[in-house]
Each structure stands twice: as C-alpha cells, then as structure tokens.
Symmetry: C2
Subunit: 345 residues, 2 copies
Amino acid sequence: MKFRLILVGFGNVAQGFASLLVKKRDYLRTRHGFEYEIVAVADTIKGSIMAQTGLDLERLLSLAHERGSIKDYPGGVRDLSGIETIEQAHADVLVEATWTNLKDGEPGLTHIKKALERDLHVVTTNKGPIALAYHELVALARRRGRHLRFEGTVLSGTPAISLGTEALAGSSIKSIRGILNGTTNYVLDEMRTGRTYEQALRTAQELGYAEADPTNDVEAWDTAAKITILANVLMDGSIRLADVHRQGITEITPEDVSDAESKGRRIKLVAEARRNERQIRAQVIPERLDQCDLLSHVPGVLNAMILSTDVQPDVAIVGPGAGGDSAGYALLSDLLALNRILEGK
Amino acid sequence: MKFRLILVGFGNVAQGFASLLVKKRDYLRTRHGFEYEIVAVADTIKGSIMAQTGLDLERLLSLAHERGSIKDYPGGVRDLSGIETIEQAHADVLVEATWTNLKDGEPGLTHIKKALERDLHVVTTNKGPIALAYHELVALARRRGRHLRFEGTVLSGTPAISLGTEALAGSSIKSIRGILNGTTNYVLDEMRTGRTYEQALRTAQELGYAEADPTNDVEAWDTAAKITILANVLMDGSIRLADVHRQGITEITPEDVSDAESKGRRIKLVAEARRNERQIRAQVIPERLDQCDLLSHVPGVLNAMILSTDVQPDVAIVGPGAGGDSAGYALLSDLLALNRILEGK
C-alpha cells in the first residue's frame, strides 16, 4: 500500500532512512508492495516544508547534505514547527527521529502523542518517549487503533524488539542480558591495548563513535534507557528509568582491564533485566565476563542481546547498534512490518 | 482467531508442539487471541485418529508417552493414512512433522501439496520438502492464497527464516554463513579434549545428540539441506541440494583439531551461501576459524547464522538448533505469525 509520511527530525537517522527510501524505491514497490509519499519534513535546525502533493526526497537530501538546510526547497508551506506539521499535514504515518531526551522525552513525546491522537501510525528511533512513557503511549495507540513501532530504539537496525515480540511470540521471556551501547563497548575494547579511559574515549570521539559530551554513553544512561525499554516491552514490566541500578565505565582503569584479561576475563558494560518473584529488576554495570559468555566476544561498536525464555534457554542476536544507515533501516523495517500488518500478508 | 489443526507426524517434535499448546492454552488465548482445536492426528507408528468435534490433546499426549501409541483413544475415525486424514478432516492448518527425507521429500512433500490444494495453510519442520521443492510449494501456496511457513527447518525454534524474511525485510541479503547442525558442532567440540572422532560421536549418541546412523549429520547432508533452504528463501536463489559443495567431518583427526588450536583457531563445520555475480554458490565444509569470527565461539549443540545485508554488514543469531521443545516451539511461532497475519495485527 501507499503511505503518506511526515518526517519530524531530519538529522543523520532520518537522512539515512530517506536515502534508503530513495535507493530502494522500485525494490520496495515490486517486492513488498510498499509505496510512499513524503508530505512534510520538519527539523528545528534544517527547516521545515510541507506539501500535500508530495516532496522530492532526493532534492531534500541534497539540500541537507550540501547546505545543511532545506529552507531553499521551492514551494510548499514552510516554517511550521514539528507539532504544527503533525496537526496540518494529511498523512498516515509519523516518522519521529528527533533527538533523545531522557529527562522528559520532549519534543518527541508530544510529537508521538499528537500523531496518535490524530490517528497516525508512528515509527520512531527516539528512545526518550519509549523509555519514559511506553505504557501510556501503547494505551493511546490502542485506543486510536493505531500502531506504534520503535525497532530502532534498541540495537538500532538489528532486530531486537521484533525478535522478542514477533519472532519469539508465545515465549515468555524470563531474563534479558545485553551489550546495548557501542561507544562504551568500543572504549573498553580500546583499553585492552593498554590505553587509559581518557585516551580510548578520545579515539572514539575522533572516529565519531562518541559525542563531544559523552555523559549519556559513559555514565550508562543510554544503556539504562534501552534495558528499561526491553524490560517493559518484552517482559511486560513497568520499571522506570530511575529504577535501573546504573554504573558507568569512567572509573575503569587499564589495570582493571589487564587484571581481568590475565584471568581470562573481559570487562564489558552489561545490561540485565531479570524477574525476581513478581518484580523485574534491571541493572547496567561493568562485569568481568568469562570466555564461555557470548557477550565477551562482541567486539567494537557491535551490540548484542540474549533472551532467556521459558521454552528455549538462550537466543542471542548480535549486530550493529548505531549508525545512520542502521538506524534509518530500523525505521524502514518498522514501516514494512506495518505494511505487512495492514495488508494482512 | 481459532484454528482447526491436523497433526501429521506425532513424534518428538509434534509432541513438543502439542505440550506447548496444552501448557500455554490460556496464555495464547488471552495474550495472542490464538485458539485451537485438534481435529486429527496421524502417525504411521503411533496410529491415527480423527474427530471433527475435536480431540483431547492431553489424553493423546499421555497415551503417546505411556503406551507409544494413540490407538486406544476412544471414539473418532481411526486408521486413516496421513493423506486420507488431510483429505477428510475439516481443518484450517496442517502441522506437518513427519521425518525428513532428503531423497524425494516424501511423505511430507505429498502431505504439504495435498493440504495446500485443499486450501489449508501449512506449518512444518520438515526439511525435505522445503529443501527439495521450495519454489514449487510457494507457487502452489500463492495460487491457493494460503500460507506455508517452515521456521523450524533451520535453527529449530531460533528464528532464522523470519529473521531474514520479516525482521530484516527490505534488506538485500548478500551472503549467509552459519553453524547449522548441532551434532557435528558437539562432536568437534568434544574432539578439542583430545578424543577421536569415533569417541566423540559415541558420546554424542549416548547423549541423544546423534542418531544411531549419523550419516545425515556427519556427512553434512543435514547442513547442506539447511543452507539450500536459506539460499533459496532469503537470497531468492534457485539452487538444488545436489549443487551444494559438501564435505563432512568424518576425516577430521584429533591432530587436525589440536594443530588448529595451537594456532589460535577452531575447526567448525561452516555452511555458506554467497552471490557470485548472478549465481549463488553454497558450500558446507570444515573451516579453521580464527577467534575474531563469532562462529568460532558457538559451543556444543548451539547453532548460529550470520546474515550480511546491503544495509548492515553482519547480523548474527545464536540459539538452540534442535530438540523437541525448540522445534515444537518453531511450529507454534509459525502459527502465531499466521494468526497475526490473518488478524491484521
């Protein structure tokens, strides 16, 4: 079927998604019966444009790449905010890819609510709203008979959410363990060569794996948000981000790393959610893993998640956990799932 | 929705599936809106019984466990063959779990064809028909507007087929590598302790990991069938089982294993399918993997599959590759997918 899309947020992730849409246009139509029209794009920095007759995505991409702004796109209604765009554009799906805010989820949270209230489906990579307000948003989506999908919030384009909810449907998930953050995994790997935390972090920043302010990653907020999402979505939990016992990697020394290595172990930042009687407990802490643990063999910026179910002991998935292409693909995979659902195939 | 099921084949896998149905009956109804009625069971050894008003699955299971036969089940129409059952029972889905025959796919192939021709959906764990006649069966299913699902043919209950076709939909899969057979992986692991191939195989047989006649596993026929399925389903291939370059593990000596280990490598039976210009080439051969290769860290009877796509370099899944519970779960996961598709949710 044909989807009319609004893109709110037009940074790396949304541009990665848009590039895939352009590149795969014919393939998506012939292979999956999936067609699209972009009716609006809104970004607080790059500008916003709305045209009910459809926008030229290739042109928007080249404007964004070349000028860092889509303001020179000709015609259309311009300068609407994200919320105004959602209110005014006639669309089927909101693609929400604004920045992650783990304090109050904004502006993504309001975007998603507004869209669901206006009977749009929503696909998003934005961890804030899902980590902070999953149950509220799902209830709203149900009331409106709309779908909310967020594959890219955990493990990026590597299927984690759909692995638990769809591929392993009918299983009851008892516990989840994972390496859910590529930046810290890269830094810890680098430290195995004898570098200090600061040196390793600097390399990660130079390579674009870590942000200028790395707090979210190295203090494990990002990982905590992801394990919150997994616990609530895959284990029917209702834990809050603040409930996650959290310890980052900033205190780890090269001596810690080499001491672990000398004992055949490897330090990894491990997220875990486990059912303890009726409660679910979640934590993110650096652990010394032995070589039998698959997580000890997940290198660099890769991520991994291991699900323990009532039927099968451990099912693990390993793959990219970040990057515009991978996260952009997560949005596409959500849209294709929506297409399958709505077409009943 | 409610599915009327025929079970053809009532061995370990079908009994594992039936146990899950019994144990999870309430959960499947309340959580997934999935209900079932068993209208017929047919097994060449255990007997067959058909009753349009529904059979008591718990009773069938205890008869099978206690007496190795369901012939004493009271009432119903009895002694029908698999084909007669499919022709006479009024059902929605055939659950085909007879033995795998890699020569001509029978009797599973005829069961599946008959069922599709009679407008039943089919879920199966039977590798024979899918490895030998995938395209023919899919074309038949399409003509009849019915679904054919076979998650359990590769990696058992660990999602491999749906990972490629659904979770990673929209990706183009460039190559597949995997450890697809638990028996040989276990034997090779045992040989790392210095045992000979024969000793390791005997242990595997004692533990029930290898059959009395292990040819299918150790000569890599089983793995070859699985990589044929993966190449054809996930890469749009049309390779034949006979096209797979195949080498088993029977010639591997403890010296080979220890020589590899001394060089930091590990011998694994690796299946691979790769697009070579327009053709797909598939092979199964013992390889010496280095430690950077995730496959080198897949122990014992676990299985693994790595997909390389145009969007993401490597996405790997690791989990159980055999066992009645796991394979039985694969059938349940196919039915739940069917339920989602038919309910449009």
